[in-house]
């Protein structure tokens, strides 16, 4: 039963559970088709980060669908960065660093630039996880013990 002590009211929590799915799907869609329609990895990444920010605000930061990601943001961000570097490094085998080495399909379809699709998804992971981690750091400040007001201590 969602608690309405931390976070926002029960109505907001119930609605947020559903809306979060839609937001994540929208973010993936914007990034996936970024080489054909406006958007791309950055727009998709910030949309997903914003969705998780909403979930954190609605559920209070300790429970809810966003809490499962609190420990994993660092790995997701690293996965995005390593995917980007890996795709670029494979270019060394066929030519120079960061050469678009994937085979290309027909124009104006999803397969017209698979290299860009994978890079868009890598940027989505990197930007989304990174910005959500930044927001979590700011939430962390709320749990600080009261700082001593004299000049000593407090780091």
């Amino acid at each position: 039963m969602p608690s309405d002590r931390d976070g926002l009211s029960v109505i907001v929590q119930v609605v947020t559970r559903w809306i979060l799915v839609l937001i994540v799907v929208y973010g993936f869609g914007v990034a996936f088709f970024g080489h054909l329609t406006p958007g791309g990895g950055f727009a998709g990444g910030v949309v997903i980060a914003c969705g998780f920010v909403l979930a954190t605000l609605a559920f209070g930061g300790r429970s809810g669908p966003a809490a499962a990601f609190h420990r994993r943001v660092a790995s997701l961000e690293a996965a995005g960065a390593l995917t980007y570097l890996g795709m670029a490094a494979i270019g060394w085998t066929v030519g120079h660093f960061m050469q678009a080495w994937t085979p290309r399909g027909a124009d104006f379809t999803l397969a017209s630039a698979p290299f860009l699709v994978v890079l868009n998804l890598a940027i989505l992971l990197k930007v989304g996880a990174g910005l959500f981690a930044g927001f979590m750091v700011l939430v962390l400040f709320d749990r600080a013990p009261a700082a001593p007001r004299d000049g000593k201590g407090g780091g």
């Binding site: 406006p38 910030v46 750091v137």
Partner: protein, 116 residues
């Protein structure tokens, strides 16, 4: 030129907010406005009157597209710049919160007197 002048005035307002305000959160707001002004300036330099977005549609003539589209290069620069601006703003707010916890105030002049 009027548009450039207004955007440069926005830049000046952001700089003024960063320098001449004593509340730290107002300074952060000044930096946010400075970010907006710089990104707007970059995109405005690439604008072509009557031009469309730089996205090729199926069946469009490539030569007409190249002649009538706005400049895509500043847009590529601004896209990353906006996200980096968000990261920098988060870092600044973290600094402001840490300073508030350390000194108990957001006022830079009172902080000067409390130091040491």
């Amino acid at each position: 030129m009027t548009f450039y002048a207004l955007t440069l005035a926005l830049l000046g307002v952001g700089l003024y907010g960063l320098l001449a305000k004593r509340n730290m959160l107002k300074k952060v707001l000044g930096l946010v406005i400075l970010d907006y002004a710089v990104n707007l300036l970059l995109v405005a330099v690439g604008y072509r009157a009557g031009g469309g977005a730089p996205i090729l549609l199926p069946g469009e003539d490539p030569a007409a597209f190249a002649a009538g589209s706005v400049d895509p290069l500043p847009q590529a620069l601004v896209l990353t710049s906006i996200v980096i601006g968000l990261g920098a703003t988060m870092l600044l707010v973290a600094m402001v919160l840490r300073l508030h916890q350390r000194y108990g105030t957001l006022d830079v002049d009172r902080m000067d007197r409390l130091k040491g």
